[in-house]
């Protein structure tokens, strides 16, 4: 009897140990988000905080692996895009349940798509699926088969489903019933969000332990980045997803183990000249700014290496193209960054009749070359870049006036009044597929910053870009699309409507107690593999 009790006790302890090894009961991951999420409805998520909650709680049919940049099956075990790119069929995994126990089936996918495409909902995620006039049709075949047909082809259709968190058609909890690794257990506005492990989450680790390893996630609302940094140093939070170069250096100097540079990211900082024909600029300045020689000369006068080294403390790379080298498939590797070559710049300017006199540059009509660059106030990196460019251009005799404006005033000038000469801004890029940048590159687009909303392309090279972008948008063969995008990159490199300055590195900070961290350049940089993360006391183990 005693022996049997002993064996039972050993077995119970073993089972408890196994459970602990997998799930780490009581363990909590803590990090900060800047603001309250504007919504918990995953279809309406548009801000960073809501995006974080969606990533942690939402179950998706397919997931883009942030490390390999390849799609992987999630709720769907397989999928197939039609030859014309207008429909996609999913085979769903059987016997899955939402966090509240409601069963998952193809009806839930159909319901989610119906909600996503509802014009009254104004879903930002749904906008990417709007391919043309007409209704999106869903065809459910049994519990686990669904085909979704769109009115027109959509390039990169399967990748778009990485952002679509499936909602339950039947659960009374609606968007709070989830299929992702966590569910929202508590939401204290202005203070924190508490996510708890989804008891019905489908994934197990190789040993069959329940995932995710960490029991709960606490997202503290903290706007001040300096306080966030202090909290990390005190051990109150486990990581900072995105750090500025200044904070990175500061942290690295104190404790090198905390700071992580994941390499060059997708975001670029760039400068452009106003080429709008009906802008209130004088004609001679319009002539400067529309000259490719002038733009290239300015570009070659900027020391990008110095910008990367001084402004970003070495955590940036001279930018080459509108696609970052971090975008492994789409970046045109044949291109290199424009060299820093003030003499070459002066030679280019001489072709357009510019000449130097007493250290200052004059155009062919004898006008002093002076222009202003606007950037948003409060962004120290951009202000520093503008000041460095000011000194670089002074070397070739160009006078640059740096003007910092509050953001609404800046947007007003670059989108409505066009009362500016040059602008320095950064574009955030979360999407690998260049098709998402159609609104920037088409000459008719509103975001075609240097000369938006053109009725017909103002230049031959813009017409060529239009044709190439339209061609790639209707082409389903990735190799052919790549060829078109490579050519667009070449044209942009030659014409420099945007003078790309630097691509910033992705900088993060992670507590040594957090294991299995593999920072990547795509969002969310640190917790993209949230299920695999675990916490331990031994410093840096597993990193």
């Amino acid at each position: 009897m005693r022996r049997r009790r002993f064996i039972s006790a050993v077995l119970a302890l073993g089972m408890l140990g196994a459970a602990l090894a997998g799930a780490q009961p009581g363990s909590q991951l803590r990090f900060c988000i800047g603001t309250d999420p504007k919504t918990l409805n995953p279809l309406l998520a548009d801000d960073e905080a809501a995006g974080a909650v969606r990533y942690l709680t939402g179950g998706v049919l397919v997931r883009l692996n942030r490390l390999t940049q390849q799609l992987e099956p999630e709720l769907a075990s397989s999928w197939k895009v039609s030859r014309d790119g207008a429909s996609i069929s999913f085979t769903l995994r059987p016997n899955l349940r939402f966090s509240d126990g409601a069963p998952f089936s193809a009806d839930d996918v159909a319901y989610t798509i119906e909600r996503l495409m509802d014009p009254a909902l104004h879903s930002p995620t749904g906008d990417a699926f709007r391919s043309g006039a007409g209704k999106v049709r869903t065809s459910v075949a049994g519990k686990n088969q669904i085909t979704i047909t769109f009115p027109a082809p959509i390039v990169g259709l399967d990748k778009l489903f990485d952002q679509v968190a499936i909602m339950s058609a039947r659960s009374p909890l609606k968007e709070l019933a989830v299929l992702g690794p966590y569910y929202v257990a508590e939401n204290k506005a202005g203070s924190y969000l508490l996510l708890k492990r989804n008891p019905n989450y489908r994934r197990r680790d190789a040993a069959g332990h329940m995932l995710p390893h960490i029991d709960s996630v606490r997202l503290d609302i903290q706007q001040n980045r300096d306080i966030e940094l202090l909290r990390l140093e005190r051990g109150e939070i486990d990581f900072i997803n995105s750090l500025s170069a200044d904070n990175y250096d500061q942290l690295a100097n104190k404790d090198g183990k905390l700071a992580i540079d994941a390499g060059v990211g997708l975001d670029a900082e760039q400068m452009w000249f106003n080429q709008v024909p009906n802008s209130p600029l004088p004609d001679y300045k319009k002539a400067w700014f529309t000259s490719a020689n002038f733009r290239r000369a300015i570009s070659e006068s900027i020391n990008r290496q110095d910008l990367a080294r001084v402004v970003f403390r070495g955590h940036a790379r001279p930018a080459v193209s509108w696609i970052s080298p971090a975008n492994k498939f789409w970046f045109n590797a044949k291109l290199t960054a424009h060299p820093f070559d003030p003499q070459g710049a002066l030679a280019l300017l001489a072709r357009d009749g510019f000449h130097r006199q007493n250290g200052k540059l004059y155009d062919r009509t004898g006008r002093l070359v002076e222009f202003s660059v606007i950037t948003n106030s409060g962004n120290k990196a951009r202000e520093r870049m503008a000041t460095m460019i000011q000194q670089d251009l002074d070397e070739i005799g160009v006078t640059l006036n740096v003007v910092t404006l509050d953001f609404p005033s800046l947007i007003e000038r670059i989108t409505r009044t066009f009362n500016y000469e040059a602008c320095l801004l950064g574009f955030v890029n979360n999407d690998l597929d260049p098709d998402s940048q159609m609104t920037v590159w088409l000459s008719s687009a509103e975001d075609h910053a240097w000369n938006p909303s053109q009725k017909s392309p103002a230049t031959a090279w813009e017409a060529e870009i239009d044709a190439l972008m339209h061609a790639q948008a209707s082409e389903m063969d990735p190799a052919k699309r790549k060829k078109a995008i490579d050519r667009v990159q070449e044209i942009v490199w030659q014409q420099e409507p945007f003078i790309y300055l630097v691509n910033k590195d992705v900088l993060s900070a992670v507590s040594p107690a957090l294991r299995n961290v593999h920072p990547v350049v795509l969002q969310p940089q640190i917790y993209w593999n949230i299920e695999q993360l675990s916490k331990g006391n031994e410093a840096a183990k597993g990193r």
Binding site: T387, M388, N401, T404
Partner: protein, 268 residues
Amino acid sequence: MKWARLASIVFLAVVTVVCLLANVVAPDSYAHQFRDVPDAAPSHQHLLGTDDLGRDRFSRLLFGTRVSLLLAPAAALLASVLAAMIGGVAGFAGGWVQGGVMAVTDLFLSMPWLFLLITVRALLPLNVSPLTSVAITFALLGCLGWATAARVVCANARTLRNSDFILLAQASGCSGFRLLIRHLIPNLMPVLYAQFWISIPVFILTEANLGILGLGVAEPLPSWGSLLRELEGFSTLSAQPWQFVPLILLILTVSCFHVATQKLEDWA
């Protein structure tokens, strides 16, 4: 307290003279970027180290102090003149003129200054040199900073209007304009002096606030505002305490202005 006033005046005089001689005293140009040594610690070459772009902090402090110390009094002068005209006329005229002007003054005082400055700054032409931008910034401060002083001047003008010498002048057939220029304004001078001196530190601090928001003096020209922006990253300050020097100088200067003008404040 006499010695404190004297010490304050001497301090202000020394700071002013040194800054006026910035071209001679400063070891480097305030704009030159020594890009190989950004954020350097104090050394023989750079007495207060270098800033994040490698610019000599000591030189920038000298030129920045000059900008703030010269232009803040100019803005204060402009504000005082406007206050004298607006407050003087309102107080002298009395009745509905005074009521109307004071209502506008109250409106001005209740306006969110900083937002107003940001808006006006955004409407200004872009292509101006840093020197022009600094002049515009302080001119704006002067144009928008008259309201407090105008109320004080108006109250004093009202008292003076009923005084015997004004009544005598009126009885002698003195015209309204002559009364204002020859009798009223000269008697308001002590109040205006006081308002002038009190306004200087206020404008210095306002420019510093604008500078902290990145909306003050344009790069590369330094001012106290742009120098104080470096204190934003408070977590780095313990490692680089020399960054506090502009702040210490600002506090000392503003304190000295207050001590030196204490008697004037009593008049006001």
